[in-house]
Symmetry: C4
Subunit: 341 residues, 4 copies
Amino acid sequence: MKEIRDNARKLMKGFCRVCPVCDGKACAGEVPGMGGINTGNAFKRNVSALREVTLNMRLLHDVTDPDPSSNVLGLDLAMPVMAAPIGGVSFNMGGGMEEQDYVDAILGGCKDAGVIGCTGDGVPEFIYKSAFDGITKFEGHGIPFIKPWEGGEFEEKLDMAAKTGCSVLGMDIDAAGLITLRLMGRPVSPKSPAQLKEVADMVHDRGLKFILKGIMDPREAVRAAEAGADAIVISNHGGRVLDHTPGTAEVLTDVAEEVKGSAIIMVDGGVRDGFDVLKMVALGADCVLIGRPFCYAAIGGGRDGVVKYLGTIMAQLKQSMVLTGCKDIASAGLHILYDAF
Amino acid sequence: MKEIRDNARKLMKGFCRVCPVCDGKACAGEVPGMGGINTGNAFKRNVSALREVTLNMRLLHDVTDPDPSSNVLGLDLAMPVMAAPIGGVSFNMGGGMEEQDYVDAILGGCKDAGVIGCTGDGVPEFIYKSAFDGITKFEGHGIPFIKPWEGGEFEEKLDMAAKTGCSVLGMDIDAAGLITLRLMGRPVSPKSPAQLKEVADMVHDRGLKFILKGIMDPREAVRAAEAGADAIVISNHGGRVLDHTPGTAEVLTDVAEEVKGSAIIMVDGGVRDGFDVLKMVALGADCVLIGRPFCYAAIGGGRDGVVKYLGTIMAQLKQSMVLTGCKDIASAGLHILYDAF
Amino acid sequence: MKEIRDNARKLMKGFCRVCPVCDGKACAGEVPGMGGINTGNAFKRNVSALREVTLNMRLLHDVTDPDPSSNVLGLDLAMPVMAAPIGGVSFNMGGGMEEQDYVDAILGGCKDAGVIGCTGDGVPEFIYKSAFDGITKFEGHGIPFIKPWEGGEFEEKLDMAAKTGCSVLGMDIDAAGLITLRLMGRPVSPKSPAQLKEVADMVHDRGLKFILKGIMDPREAVRAAEAGADAIVISNHGGRVLDHTPGTAEVLTDVAEEVKGSAIIMVDGGVRDGFDVLKMVALGADCVLIGRPFCYAAIGGGRDGVVKYLGTIMAQLKQSMVLTGCKDIASAGLHILYDAF
Amino acid sequence: MKEIRDNARKLMKGFCRVCPVCDGKACAGEVPGMGGINTGNAFKRNVSALREVTLNMRLLHDVTDPDPSSNVLGLDLAMPVMAAPIGGVSFNMGGGMEEQDYVDAILGGCKDAGVIGCTGDGVPEFIYKSAFDGITKFEGHGIPFIKPWEGGEFEEKLDMAAKTGCSVLGMDIDAAGLITLRLMGRPVSPKSPAQLKEVADMVHDRGLKFILKGIMDPREAVRAAEAGADAIVISNHGGRVLDHTPGTAEVLTDVAEEVKGSAIIMVDGGVRDGFDVLKMVALGADCVLIGRPFCYAAIGGGRDGVVKYLGTIMAQLKQSMVLTGCKDIASAGLHILYDAF
């Protein structure tokens, strides 16, 4: 991984320092770029909140070869991990790689490692085109995310996305409020429960399952499930839209308790390693999205870099399952955490 | 804003470093100057206390174009923000601008952006003269603050201030205790409730509304309202008079609950961006005063700098209202905060 | 004060850096020297604990010219502040001044400023001799401290001390446990309540009042008062004997409540300015001892330096009394603190 | 000690910086090496958790010459301190010393100072061979630890260890989950209670007492005691196997309460000095293991270095016993701690 990180540091110069710990301090305010918005506190708090969660080591049991696999939304995954939807290599990551190559590295590397990658949306249009082309190339093995556009733009893109062969599609509603897009005449916006239901119905009508990303409040989780979201992602968009939010790990358990059983719970924010994955699962997540680390992995090492990074995650996840006595993902829960929120 | 900040850094050299985050660390003890008194803890705590307040992101609603306007003390404001009363460019900010030019930049920029600026008082006399001249020039669009002088000095200045055309006038009682002024034979002092009532009556007799700035205790807020203050400002004078106080964000909710309905609640201390403005409003403020950032904006960019800074605040405020689901200022409250004090 | 501090920094080179904030970080483990023992945590915690205590600013009252004077153990003091007993200029402070000159600067400066200084004890014998000579010179205006020697050494020194004309004498029992002194054949030790009673009786028999310094536990405070101590000092010996203790400000209120009325409560530990003095009084102290800052003041500026330092403390104390509405020392209490321990 | 530390810093270059405070920050992620795994948080938290525990200073008693001796598992110790089992000088510590010399320095130094050292196990085989040879040389005065191997490897090594003359033997079950060993075809693993009982029986059958190291959960402590462990060690393996655990000091009291009386309680993790030893005892430990500091002591000063380090620990322990009023180890308890977990 060191070589990959060193290479990424060169290619992302001026956009990402590939710090020893990716915690949002050095890049605070660098949007576009890899940082959190404004003071960067929302990004930093994702990391610091998750750091406070600690694991109960347990060794008096018979778990020696744990099974980290999981079926999420009908997808068989080697572990409950996905690459989060991120787009815009040129303006966010320094342009050391073409958007299409980036998408292919993420989707291909994830597929090779037995998991799945999500793709981003945005302006200019090559972002979503590269995304859809990539998913088509990998025979639908990818989850396209579309922004919460106003008017007909969502449905147009949905039709394109449906042709990629994917079985699951997401909307990152946490992108709403980006006034810059509104000023460009391409408004994205929050959705009322009624509007969300229409969106979910549209997605379901294409035979796809629907993920809503951007929930930070238990009451909103209930509304999302009631409107038809098959899964929610607890996310503050990596701290890039609203400064000064709690970390996602802080709100995860409360949100999960509210909709457990009625929607799949996913989460991103500050996850860096396989120990973090187990902590998020123990707090209540069915699946964990990882963002920035996939950027260095893909830019520094391409598809192989993504595979190597996922190999590290897998080894750490299995090691932490052994050391906490979890024979499978379903066995993880609050009992393996010490003094959680 | 970068250019404005760079320019300010040059002009304020030796007085203000225009740090990436204005948090009172680098300038601790620099009074005169821009710092907090002594160890600077009271200034630092304003910033750190407000940083701990976090926002609940909420996106399942129909707020897409929120209205941040507010009527405060009869003034129609584009948003509930004012420039705090600060004077003494020469000895506090390095003298890179004349006092009158500074006052005009603040008052003019605020007027251009649809809000209003406050002016300071002090010794030497050009401070309040520049202030009153400025407000007169902008046809009363400014709020003069007068220090809590002993004897007849307050009333003398009040008469001058009343002629500027202003409709609201403030007293920054948090300036009391400045022993230096007492040693110069120009004592300022706390006021008993009876004395405060006399002051409020004098102000009301000139047809002006009265703001009392410098409340940090719920019991004092009640006394202020009973004595006739139309508004109070929760403030520790930017940490410049009494070291080791709590941050204003810590005491805001308790103070607000005590006098909500009987006096307008204003607050300053550590507010740097539009997200901070919404947090203060959610904690209970009707209006927010911002101090030091206006100094760099005015000195680095003049009236235009002030307008630009207010434009940033406005964009952040609207973005944060969308992302928390507040259609207007009255809709913000403790329910949009996560785990507040 | 800047000149005095700069001069001290030169004279104490290698022993004290005269840091901007004297917090025990740079000198951790430097014993002999000015630091806290071992990791320095006990010293650091004195400072950090006191920093957490914050003052309620209050301005709606008629206190404009507060009276900080206090009578402590029959001594009329301009404010409830004393110089803590510190000895050993040569091995602790770099030897930039003779022990006798140091003692005279402390005692003389304190007398000039209307307060009183304490003197230290130790090996070699010039420490206590300089101390007793100094107090004699200032006609008894000083408080000699004697270490908790085993055997007859305490009484011998008590007889010498009694001849200085002093009216109060202390024992710093927190010096016990210094195994180095035991190895030198000069053991100091804890005292049982019965032994302490003998000590107190001996002191009283010489017509002196008795201070016991080194209480950190409410139960020990009760034992001290019952054994005849007229005053106790809550102190961890500046963090120089037992690492990893709480800060004195943390235990002060609990200790004070236990013996209020039966013994005078004194405290040291981390007090740097007049705001800190008021905080300690509000937490329950009748009088505050200040240690290290007197070293720089005396070494950097001699007797005048001590007077200047006390002048700063006095100005800050009066300012903080005005700003919290304390007309005199007796008026300070927990009600002027925000959210104390 | 300074000379020893300076020498160690040279010999361990690239592996250990021998920092002023050994807190896991500089070496985070350096495994092999001296660091904690991954982010190093589990190592860092051992240190920070123990730092938060503070001692009640108490001086009104008759303890002047405390007795720090203790009998642990039939072993008469000058104080309740052991050197933790650490092996692999070449790949963890830079190879500045032969494994056998290292083992001899630890065992010999501990014996000289009246305590006892533990030895490590691992691959390559010279690690355990040096260990067993060393213990044999010191006539059984050492505690061999064997890893939780699968299959017959544990029993084979147990037979070898039994011939060294030792009376106590340990298993560091916290080494389980090291996937690297599994990949090398030498799997170590957790043990079910039934398997653990077999292990304990095997050890007892050889006439040895059995220590199980690696308990971090009160329920596991009960299982260990029920399965026949004579002692447990609360340990997260120095933060080297599972990142993001609580510090051992945080879980100690809860674990101790659960098995007090049915098993001897030992603990390691972040203990650096004699004050820390007393804190761990007060929290509930019968005996304390120290890890990394013995590495610098042995590598920097050989057997003498170990003796010198233990001399420092002893002096600090006695000093802290005097200053908290503990006449012997049994007298220490939660009452000498301020505001413990």
